[in-house]
């Protein structure tokens, strides 16, 4: 068993008691829970303030800025005045009559962040993601088939173009009246599915097809296209368009289901973390090593908090 110092013991007891206070909310809202909640918020805010002072304001501002007689005049020491001025302008929000000044640093921050995000966010979340959906429907370990199967995404692009044509059919009304364009679309989709199964089952000798990956890519394509169709609201979700949108809903529901499952896992993990703390750290070491005098003090302190909470509850109820 690890020998614990007095300050560690006190810390463990306080953490355990506050944990139990927070858990008491599961029975019903009460002052003990409120006390722990407010303490958590207060301690966090205090810690962030101290960190910001010592990690940012001190090294980045006060130890760099030009102060006559203390620090020599350089370009860097003068440049620091700009963020310092912006920071002071931000604090003007506290003065109602000069509150408008705080809009300037806010606008500066928004501008910088938007400028950075515009390029990087687009690259990471749009361009790279679109590129990642342009995948072959049949993936092989051999290079030549791998290249050849890029024909499939080309055909997929044709399908997308056809869908777009359907969507803007009002503008190509003449063309649309001449042929019912939906019918050729069905034919092309059926042809692609047929080609896909031929590629999967009739690969030439010596070609090693990665079937799982191939299948995943098909699912990916169907999911992306149908999901996008669902979010296209300029056309009524009826007929072939409606069927595609419905398939999109199923994909979305699966995604939401996965998120929900992960959320449950996260919440249970947090409970496990606190349970491990209560059972192992507090229940295992702290309780055994706590001296009698400290136990008495802790129990008295706990009783005092509970009595105060009860008085406050009664006071609140009477008003």
């Amino acid at each position: 068993m690890q020998e614990l110092a007095t300050q560690d013991l006190v810390g463990l007891w306080i953490a355990a008691i506050l944990t139990l206070f927070i858990f008491s909310f599961l029975y019903k809202d009460n002052p003990l829970y409120k006390f722990a909640e407010h303490m958590f918020v207060g301690v966090s805010a205090g810690y962030i303030l101290v960190r910001t002072w010592f990690d940012i304001l001190m090294p980045m501002l006060f130890q760099r800025i030009w102060i006559p007689g203390v620090r020599e005049l350089t370009v860097e020491s003068l440049m620091v005045f700009i963020p310092a001025a912006l920071a002071i302008m931000m604090l003007m929000r506290l003065v109602p009559s000069a509150g408008w000044i705080s809009r300037w640093p806010l606008a500066f921050m928004m501008g910088v962040t938007s400028g950075l995000y515009l390029v990087m966010y687009l690259q990471t979340n749009a361009i790279e993601q679109i590129r990642a959906t342009m995948v072959p429907f049949a993936v092989a370990e051999n290079d030549w088939l791998h290249i050849a199967t890029y024909l499939f995404p080309v055909l997929a692009v044709v399908i997308v173009l056809l869908v777009v044509m359907i969507l803007i059919r009002e503008r190509i009304e003449v063309l649309y009246r001449k042929w019912n364009i939906i019918f050729p679309l069905y034919l092309i989709v059926a042809g692609i599915v047929l080609l896909y199964f031929i590629a999967i089952h009739r690969t030439p000798e010596g070609v090693a097809l990665i079937e799982n990956q191939s299948f995943n890519n098909v699912i990916l394509f169907v999911g992306v296209v149908s999901g996008l169709v669902y979010f296209f609201f300029s056309k009524a979700h009826t007929g072939a368009f409606g069927v595609t949108a419905r398939i999109g809903i199923y994909f979305l529901m699966m995604a939401f289901g996965a998120s929900f499952g992960y959320t449950i896992m996260a919440r249970i993990s947090l409970l496990i973390g606190r349970s491990q703390f209560l059972l192992d750290e507090w229940g295992g070491d702290a309780i055994v090593q706590t001296p009698v005098w400290m136990s008495i003090l802790l129990i008295l302190g706990l009783l005092a908090v509970i009595v105060m909470a009860a008085i406050k509850t009664r006071h609140d109820e009477s008003h």
Binding site: Y47, D55, I56, Q123, A266, S275
Partner: protein, 320 residues
């Protein structure tokens, strides 16, 4: 009495759940599993109070912690890939660990932190820690104390990890993506000094590390924004270095598109991901210990969902 009325109303459901538990027991399922099925399937039916659900979940979390079942954990490809990438790196490679979380998500992300850092230390990689979240700094210090000072340096007194030579702490810096973007150009511009106040140019390890391009692997511990997404944007897509990470289970699904696109080398999703990494490193720790509880609690929740739905349809049919 609610209990008596519920026994008569849902008698078929209660019998079905007890039979299911008996079948699981006969098939050789661990004792706690079939007890969970029986209790989670029957008790909320008898006493329909939300607090009963809380109590049962608490029981099914605490019991496996006291009496471990040692259920096996499969290794997922995303965790295996990250482990393999760290294995492939030459000893002495530089790993950037960004602690972008706070104590609120510590139970999920701290086990992943320890498992990953343990792996890096065993491989002899050098570590730079930083934080885009203010409370991440103390977690970085705590992880170094647990893995390097109390573990590695005690077990290997002849080959200790030394601050400034093998690892460096960088302080918290506000700005999120702006900080990550600036670090891509220069560490010293953003961090004139380390956490201990030493100028960065005076730290031996940092002499060869001027910007993100000198980092071999970036590992983001993410519980929101700013976090792993920012590192993907900057380190992976802009600078072109490998990025892996650990994310809370809530946010893990958001990162799978990046994995599929190859922008992310690997991902530890929640406590499960951490337990997989612990298994790969070969040091079972708190995440592994928590997996039994996680499995049993999930089983209980599945039972609750099934029982809730059956009760709903039985009630609807009764009203009709």
């Amino acid at each position: 009495m609610d209990i008596k009325r519920n026994i008569s109303r849902y008698s078929r459901l209660i019998v079905a759940m007890l039979v299911a538990a008996a079948v699981l027991g006969a098939l050789g399922a661990p004792t706690l599993v079939w007890i969970c099925v029986a209790v989670a399937g029957v008790v909320p039916v008898l006493i329909p109070d939300r607090r009963m659900i809380f109590l049962l979940i608490a029981v099914f979390v605490v019991l496996p912690l006291l009496f471990p079942m040692k259920l096996e954990t499969d290794i997922t490809p995303e965790v295996q890939n990250m482990y393999d990438r760290i294995e492939e790196l030459e000893s002495g490679s530089v790993i950037l660990m960004s602690f972008d979380f706070d104590p609120a998500t510590r139970p999920e992300l701290y086990p992943a932190t320890l498992a990953f850092m343990r792996h890096c230390v065993r491989k002899g990689h050098r570590i730079v820690t930083m934080a885009l979240w203010p409370l991440g700094v103390s977690l970085a210090e705590e992880a170094v104390r647990d893995v390097i000072m109390d573990e590695w340096n005690v077990e290997n007194p002849d080959d200790p990890y030394i601050y400034g030579r093998d690892y460096v702490h960088l302080p918290y810096m506000a700005g999120g993506v702006v900080v990550a973007n600036q670090v891509a150009a220069s560490f010293e511009q953003v961090y004139p000094r380390d956490l201990r106040g030493t100028p960065l140019r005076d730290i031996p390890m940092m002499r060869g590390i001027t910007n993100l391009g000198n980092i071999d692997f970036t590992f983001g511990l993410s519980s929101g924004d700013p976090g792993l997404r920012e590192w993907i944007m900057v380190a992976s897509d802009r600078v072109g270095i490998d990025v892996g990470g650990a994310a809370t289970a809530v946010s893990a699904p958001e990162f799978y598109p990046y994995l599929q696109a190859g922008q992310l080398v690997g991902l530890m999703g929640g406590l499960k991901g951490a337990s997989e990494y612990e298994a790969l490193v070969g040091v079972p720790d708190t995440a592994t210990a928590g997996m039994d509880a996680q499995s049993l609690a999930h089983l209980a929740i599945i039972i609750f969902i099934i029982v809730g739905n059956v009760m709903f349809f039985m009630d609807r049919r009764g009203k009709a």
